[in-house]
């Protein structure tokens, strides 16, 4: 903050008259030249125009905050838990609508946290590794990102049969473990703009952001391996 410097006043000479004393305190013809200045004319003009915001001007966590979660214990989902979801058999490139179907949030791949302020920008990065065992390629296991239960459509990826390596494949890959077609998905999400959240801001308070899974009932078993998620919440400029 710059040093404050006020204009001086006109010192009296000789014997002060009543009018002189009055003008000393407040001179209506030249207020800045009288002690009326003491009434406070301090305003934004007292800041230098080149003043820059730096880290020391903000409190920790007042502009951006972050949360994370991860796990590496395998989780198996059996076919019976995914009722009602069917991938189309006619369009081999069909992706699920992800609406109104049975889906599960993945432990270790979700963050439920208190956002201390209204959030303008939500930045999410995540990684998940999973596979599935199915009788045919139309039976899909799908991983998706959600924000408070709203699915981010373009952050959904499918996997069908991930067969263990067998026979010559073991020789070719020089390994006897792993699953062919097993999938690592390292996704991201930034709001607002074109997102299921639209231009809406996330209000301050509790929110859940994370990964979910759903699968065709034809999937015999789908397995989640290592997963992690990082969520960054940037404060709105208006709050």
């Amino acid at each position: 903050m710059p040093t404050l410097t006020y204009p001086g006043y006109y010192p009296l000479t000789g014997t002060a008259s009543g009018a002189q004393l009055h003008d000393l305190f407040y001179d209506p013809s030249s207020p800045n030249a009288s002690l009326a200045m003491l009434n406070g004319r301090l305003d934004g003009g007292n800041f230098t125009t080149t003043f820059e915001l730096e880290q020391l001007h903000t409190q920790r966590g007042s502009v951006v905050t972050a949360f994370g979660s991860s796990a590496n214990a395998n989780i198996d989902y059996r076919a019976q838990v995914f009722g009602g979801f069917e991938f189309g058999a006619t369009d081999p490139f069909e992706f699920p609508t992800l609406a109104g179907e049975q889906k599960f949030y993945i432990p270790g791949g979700n963050v439920t946290a208190f956002f201390p302020y209204e959030t303008t920008i939500l930045l999410v990065m995540f990684t998940v590794y999973w596979n599935a065992h199915t009788p045919d390629a139309d039976n899909m296991s799908s991983i998706f990102l959600h924000v408070d239960g709203t699915v981010v459509q373009d952050m959904a990826r499918n996997v069908s049969n991930t067969a263990p390596l067998t026979g010559t494949e073991v020789d070719n890959y020089s390994t006897n473990y792993g699953y062919k077609k097993a999938r690592a998905f390292h996704g991201h999400f930034v709001s607002p703009a074109t997102s299921p959240l639209g231009a809406n801001l996330l209000s301050g308070g509790w929110h859940t952001v994370g990964l979910g899974i759903m699968a065709d009932p034809g999937v015999k078993m789908t397995r989640i391996h290592a997963r992690d998620i990082v969520v960054m919440a940037f404060k709105s400029s208006g709050s």
């Binding site: 934004g44 490139f93 930034v190």
Partner: protein, 262 residues
């Protein structure tokens, strides 16, 4: 704490005595520091942020069906030329360069938007290593994901390449270190069934800095970012690439912020 002096009752208010009292008051006010100000007395609204207004910029496509890429998009050979090749086909342009913007599919109209982002209404942000430019942007963080569904190709020997480019002046410059490759064939359960869906995701994360522009020999104003795709097809047969959902997000990062007067 300053305490005012007063003239004693009956004392003659000479100019000298009054001047002495007022000089004390003036000096005290001139020594006013931040501790003497009422909290909030000189506040004005300042919104600290590390991302410029109007950003981040996002373009995304949720695939309900695949978008396809064939000879109509790339050069006739579909052939990837060399690492770091600049330019390529933009929307509405065919057969230019060895790569095409994602979203610019062969059939046209199936994809909502090209994976192209214009920054700061086309003016762009100047990325300075010392943050001395007016935009105060030091780096631009880019995140990209795209699902590769499959490549239908009789020859089978096809690799899919994706990369990011930035726009400076009239040229789209490739960031060579962002080129990612996918071997589709080895990911299929059935090597002979090229229509089998593999659905592998291609993630790209990069930070565009002034050093990137120096390496590419361009100016350091980043006016746009886009995601490109190409095929390396050694036999130049009729490959058809199918892509699914994608998302390109660009986040300029400020190194400092100048408070604005309100």
């Amino acid at each position: 704490m300053w305490e005012p002096e007063f003239l004693a009752d009956g004392e003659t208010p000479t100019a000298s005595k009054i001047n002495t009292i007022m000089s004390g008051a003036r000096d005290y006010v001139n020594d006013l520091d931040r501790y003497a100000l009422r909290r909030g007395a000189v506040n004005r609204i300042i919104s600290p942020h590390i991302i410029p207004a109007g950003t981040p910029a996002v373009v995304q496509h949720s695939a309900t069906s695949a978008h396809t890429y064939s000879d109509a998009v790339f050069l006739a050979s579909l052939r990837y030329n060399a690492i770091g090749t600049n330019g390529g086909a933009a929307s509405g342009v065919t057969n230019t360069g060895d790569r095409a913007v994602i979203g610019h599919n062969s059939s046209g109209g199936a994809v909502a938007a090209d994976a192209t982002i214009s920054l700061n209404s086309g003016t762009g942000y100047t990325v300075d290593s010392d943050g001395s430019s007016a935009s105060m942007v030091k780096a631009i963080y880019c995140m990209f994901n795209c699902a590769v569904i499959n490549v239908v190709d009789p020859s089978e020997n096809v690799l899919v390449m994706m990369c990011l480019q930035y726009l400076n002046g009239p040229t789209w410059y490739t960031l060579p270190h962002t080129e990612r490759w996918v071997d589709v064939k080895t990911r299929r359960l059935s090597p002979t069934t090229s229509t089998e869906r593999v659905g592998v995701d291609v993630p790209i994360r990069t930070l565009i800095t002034e050093e990137d522009t120096i390496e590419r020999g361009s100016g350091n104003t980043i006016e746009g970012v886009r995601a490109m795709v190409s095929l390396e097809d050694s036999t130049a047969t009729n490959s058809v690439l199918h892509l699914g959902s994608f998302r390109l997000s660009v986040v300029p990062l400020l190194c400092s912020v100048t408070a604005s007067r309100s």
